[in-house]
């Protein structure tokens, strides 16, 4: 396989090793952040705004502070007059200030000797508010006379990317289709909640919490508290499902502030309602646009305007999307995104980001064009999707001025702004065959079967996403340390929310080092130990962290072989290999030494044991400019036209994430994305009170998510392995294209069943309304 520099058959890549913390998970011994306790710990509770938009004119915590057992209170008077910014514009604001921007916004916090006292004390804090007019609708918030949520105004600078001449392109097109969609806000609906424990020692702070981004969390704490990075330590702990929720959240900084005030460690644990209503959510998104194509089905122009809300504290200029390039063969394109602040809980990144929403909308425009041309959707997609080696038009337009391949990297880096690998074509062909698409697709808007009130039909949808990105942040890195008994520690900052990254990273390292993953211990959460990394966001871990892990392992390996050649085996390092923990001469295998022996023996020259610390030697190329993951989903639905209920009968997932590192880990990842996407497609949405902006369904009773019987019991999964030139052993990211493929597939299937296009979620009410029954 290319990208297997050692050119030997892979021994651990591609195998379904059990995940590293499997035993802890099945015995209930894995510690999550909510389980965290430190000696002398106090308990904190947050006072939250009952108003969507207000200024605090007076805050009196004296009664609260007088309550026996209360150790201290923090208000905006205690907070540094500094904005902290989360990565990718997910949050910008003071830790506490005198301006509240959504119902549930943090106003103050109390620390007490136990949680009950803290809860009581919170009620005793007296706050006078000057209520300000509020705005909840993104379109309203864009108006000049709208209440301004942020000092710098509601509207972010429009994020425009255009190439060619889209107006001329549309004019010249044989077919032009137009549409718009409205996506309600999806929530992460986390099982497991979160907590933060903060402890100060002199001028240093340590924080235990569940975070997908330990490094970024450290950056944010340092920024928000106005302190050096070296004095902030994050110990990232496992969380329940996160999918974008637990990055750095303001309640973590409140905890740090409170701990500093009372000079004792403090734990703030969020209850279910706080998790749902006060942290973040997916944006409300409203794309509209047109697509032009030729009469033989080639896309010629795409013109999309996308409005989305950032809630109270998000400041994203665009939701984040790579799908424009999936159809980037269009010669003319214009994507205009407008992010706008509203007085709803903060909105920002959630699994799949704009590739779920803009991606679904793009699929819809494609489908509308295919309908006009009477083309099978499969045929239309196959004709138009980006192929390996083709230019990533939108990225090129946006970033060509920033990136250039340095001459010394030309032979190592792929061609930037060109797709490095792709097996989407194979996904569509093989998927269609396996799913029996030819027989099951009866034509646009034509059901496969009608039985009483039930209509069955099939749909196909495509999703894509990057495999991590650069975007003004640090390099993603890793360190490999080989210990004197031959065991290995791998340190690479990642989230621990069930995506199996510690396992797959250990497989990469094990493959390079010629040992088993079991012999590698992975530290993913401690910023004292792990070098900077994006963490587990934007499908970074397999690709970018994997690249770094492989690089660090290769470095460690070459150090090992150099020592072996120097002292123990006659030959040059390049003549040696490691397999099953034994270093040996490739031509004379009886000349060997075990890794454990090599590490434990004092070297003849220095009289000390070796010290092996590996770090990536080669620079990582800008992966956003060439690496993409792809998913194509095929689904069969049944719509009951009397009750509006939609059932998923059959589901086939196809996935191009390059080489499969661990098939069972990857199967779980892609299925999870599909189920979350299907939930969004059919039943999930946050409901806000129209008058007050309060979240009306901040719990699992009222915010429904899929359970086991709601999704096909054993969906089929096909992996089509493109071989990426940069991803470790050819692998690519996988986390987000599946959720992006799920919605358009289901949406199309519903159209084929009942002949109407619906907004998301496609609730029974929406179905009946579209059919004219209510």
């Amino acid at each position: 396989m290319a990208n297997n520099e050692l050119n030997i058959p892979l021994s651990v890549i591609g195998k379904a090793f059990p995940i590293k913390d499997a035993r802890e998970k099945v015995t209930g011994t894995l510690k999550y952040a909510i389980d965290c306790q430190v000696p002398g710990m106090a308990y904190g509770k947050i006072l939250r705004s009952p108003h969507a938009h207000a200024r605090i004119t007076k805050i009196d915590s004296s009664q609260a502070e007088a309550l026996p057992g209360v150790l201290g209170v923090v208000t905006y008077n205690d907070a540094p007059d500094l904005d902290w910014e989360a990565h990718w514009f997910n949050y910008k604001g003071h830790i506490l200030d005198d301006h509240v921007r959504f119902v549930g916004d943090e106003v103050a916090a109390v620390a007490a000797v136990d949680e009950e006292i803290a809860k009581e004390a919170v009620k005793l804090i007296k706050v006078d508010y000057e209520i300000l007019p509020s705005v909840f609708d993104p379109q309203e918030a864009l108006k000049d006379d709208a209440p301004q949520v942020r000092a710098e105004g509601n509207a972010r600078e429009p994020a425009i990317c255009s190439w060619g001449n889209v107006d001329k392109g549309l004019e010249a097109s044989d077919i032009v289709v137009e549409s718009s969609m409205n996506f309600e806000s999806q929530h992460y609906a986390p099982i497991g909640r979160n907590a933060c424990v903060a402890e100060w020692t002199a001028d240093r702070v340590t924080m235990w919490t569940s975070t997908q981004t330990p490094s970024e969390c450290r950056d944010a704490i340092a920024m928000g508290m106005g302190m050096p990075l070296s004095k902030v330590r994050i110990i990232g702990m496992p969380s329940g499902s996160s999918i974008g929720l637990w990055w750095t959240n303001n309640f973590m900084l409140v905890t740090v502030l409170l701990a500093k005030k009372i000079c004792r460690p403090v734990k703030i644990e969020l209850d279910q309602e706080e998790c749902f209503a006060t942290v973040k959510r997916r944006h409300i998104e409203q794309p509209k646009g047109r697509l032009g194509c030729s009469s033989d089905g080639k896309i010629t122009a795409i013109d999309i305007e996308h409005i989305f809300d950032n809630g109270g504290y998000g400041v994203k200029p665009d939701p984040g999307y790579l799908c424009a390039d999936l159809w980037g063969n269009s010669l003319n394109g214009r994507f205009v995104c407008k992010g706008v602040s509203t007085n709803l809980v903060t909105a920002s990144c959630m699994r799949g980001v704009g590739d779920v929403t803009i991606g679904t909308f793009l699929n819809r425009l494609l489908d509308l064009a295919a309908i006009k041309l009477d083309m099978n959707p499969l045929e239309f997609y196959l004709k138009n999707h980006l192929k390996k080696g083709e230019i990533l038009q939108q990225l090129h337009t946006a970033l060509a001025h920033e990136y250039e391949t340095p001459p010394e990297c030309e032979d190592r880096w792929p061609q930037i702004f060109h797709l490095s690998s792709e097996a989407l074509h194979e996904c569509l062909i093989k998927g269609a065959k396996r799913f029996n698409w030819k027989e099951k697709f009866k034509g646009w808007g034509k059901p496969l079967a009608v039985s009483g009130s039930k209509r069955r039909a099939v749909g196909v949808g495509i999703g894509t996403h990057c495999c991590g990105t650069e975007d003004d942040a640090g390099p993603t890195s890793a360190i490999v340390r080989v210990h004197s008994d031959g065991s290995v520690s791998l340190s690479c900052s990642m989230g621990r929310h069930g995506q199996g990254s510690e396992t797959t990273q250990s497989q990469i390292a094990a493959e390079v080092l010629g040992i088993l993953p079991d012999q590698i211990d992975v530290e993913a959460g401690d910023t004292e130990v792990c070098p900077w990394s994006h963490g587990s966001v934007a499908s970074t871990s397999a690709y970018r962290t994997g690249f770094a892990t492989k690089g660090a392992s290769m470095d460690a390996r070459s150090q090992i072989l150099e020592i072996a050649a120097r002292h123990y085996i006659k030959g040059k390092p390049e003549q040696l290999d490691i397999k099953n923990g034994v270093i040996y001469h490739k031509k004379h295998p009886d000349q060997k030494i075990s890794l454990a022996e090599l590490m434990s023996q004092p070297q003849p020259d220095t009289l000390t044991r070796p010290s092996i610390i590996g770090r990536p030697i080669h620079r990582m190329p800008p992966t956003i400019t060439f690496a993409r993951q792809f998913a194509a989903h095929f689904v069969e639905v049944e719509v009951d036209i009397e009750t509006g209920q939609i059932k998923l009968l059959d589901y086939l997932l196809t996935q191009d994430s390059g080489t499969v590192l661990n098939p069972k880990v990857l199967e779980n990842q892609v299925t999870g994305g599909a189920i979350q996407g299907a939930g969004f497609a059919l039943i999930e949405s946050m409901v806000f009170d129209e008058q007050t902006g309060k979240v009306l369904n901040p719990n699992f009773l009222d915010y429904k998510v899929f359970r086991a019987p709601d999704f096909p019991i054993q969906p089929e999964i096909l992996f089509c392995e493109s071989n990426d030139p940069v991803g470790p052993y050819g692998c690519k990211g996988a986390g987000e294209s599946p959720i992006a493929a799920s919605l358009p597939a289901i949406s199309q299937a519903v159209y084929n069943a009942i002949g109407v296009w619906l907004d998301v979620p496609m609730t029974p009410q929406r179905v009946l309304h579209a059919l004219g029954k209510i």
């Binding site: 009950e116 009750t643 509006g644 429904k704 019987p709 709601d710 029974p764 029954k773 209510i774």
Partner: protein, 295 residues
């Protein structure tokens, strides 16, 4: 300062009533507690004395008594779900129990708790209404029976007087020629009902319908009977009922229900789906009766 209450554990129904009388409004009967616990925590109810009924074995039973099925009010929902005594036409009680909340809840939730909480969507309500069940109320001074028709007064309000305890539900075992249907719609497999309903109809040897009962839940402040729809079917010959009549039944139901819009669903949707479920229930029952008539 800590929020708590006094826990009382009576071992007989009479002891329970005595506690309740003693502490009056400050005490509540706690069956499984699955509704009360949440209400107490969210401060929707005040509770100084918790009278735990779950140790009164005399309140937990499902037994046949001649032509009656008698169910103790503390019988667990999962016992109902799995009871072989609730067969034939009584199976709608089993079906409703099997759709009540998540499975793990049914181990502690009770039939009495579900009824006395009196949520408009109480899943066990409509089956018992259409089956003509009666509820026994016990206080320290008297015992009385109330028809299920008159059990529910308003949202979270029943005909129980302050210090009365629901002890038993008795259900006349329907005749062999009775068919029943229970239907529920939720947003997904585990949900509070957006609409739920039950229907019962008996048939004589000539195939004429009698004893038609239709009850709907989650579409009014209490579960309600739709008597105008029942009347349309009374006396009808099962082999002569036309689709137009069945549609009229649905329309009557749609007219009579009083649904609201809430976070789960809209009033319009509930109304329309009530109509659909009514039609489906009628067709289910007719189908069932026709099969038996042929036999």
């Amino acid at each position: 300062m800590k929020k708590t209450f006094t826990y009382l554990r009576p071992l007989t129904p009479v002891e329970a009533c005595r506690f309740k009388e003693k502490y009056d409004k400050k005490a509540k009967f706690w069956a499984g507690g699955t509704d009360l616990l949440i209400q107490w925590r969210s401060e929707k109810i005040k509770l100084d004395y918790c009278v735990d009924l779950s140790f009164i074995s005399d309140l937990e039973y499902i037994k046949k008594d001649l032509d009656l099925i008698c169910i103790g009010s503390s019988t667990k929902v999962n016992a109902l779900e799995n009871s072989s005594k609730l067969d034939d036409s009584l199976s709608i009680i089993r079906e409703a129990a099997g759709e009540l909340g998540p499975p793990g809840l049914r181990t502690t939730a009770t039939i009495g708790g579900n009824l006395c909480n009196a949520a408009p969507s109480a899943d066990l309500a409509t089956p018992l209404i259409v089956l003509g069940a009666q509820a026994k109320f016990l206080s320290s001074t008297e015992e009385r029976w109330v028809n299920m028709d008159e059990f529910f007064l308003n949202v979270n309000q029943t005909a129980l007087k302050e210090n009365e305890l629901l002890t038993e539900i008795k259900i006349p075992i329907p005749r062999d020629t009775t068919a029943t249907s229970f239907l529920k719609i939720g947003r997904n497999v585990v949900d509070i009902a957006i609409v739920n309903m039950s229907m019962k109809a008996a048939m004589d040897e000539a195939g004429i319908l009698s004893d038609v009962k239709i009850a709907f839940g989650a579409v009014a402040p209490t579960p309600i009977r739709i008597k105008s729809a029942e009347k349309l079917l009374l006396g009808a010959d099962i082999f002569k009922i036309k689709d137009t009549l069945i549609d009229e039944v649905g329309n009557k139901v749609a007219k009579e229900v009083k649904p609201i819009t809430d976070v789960r669903s809209s009033a319009e949707y509930r109304r329309e789906v009530s109509r659909v479920l009514a039609v489906r229930a009628v067709k289910n029952i007719l189908g069932d009766l026709k099969k038996r008539r042929k036999v």
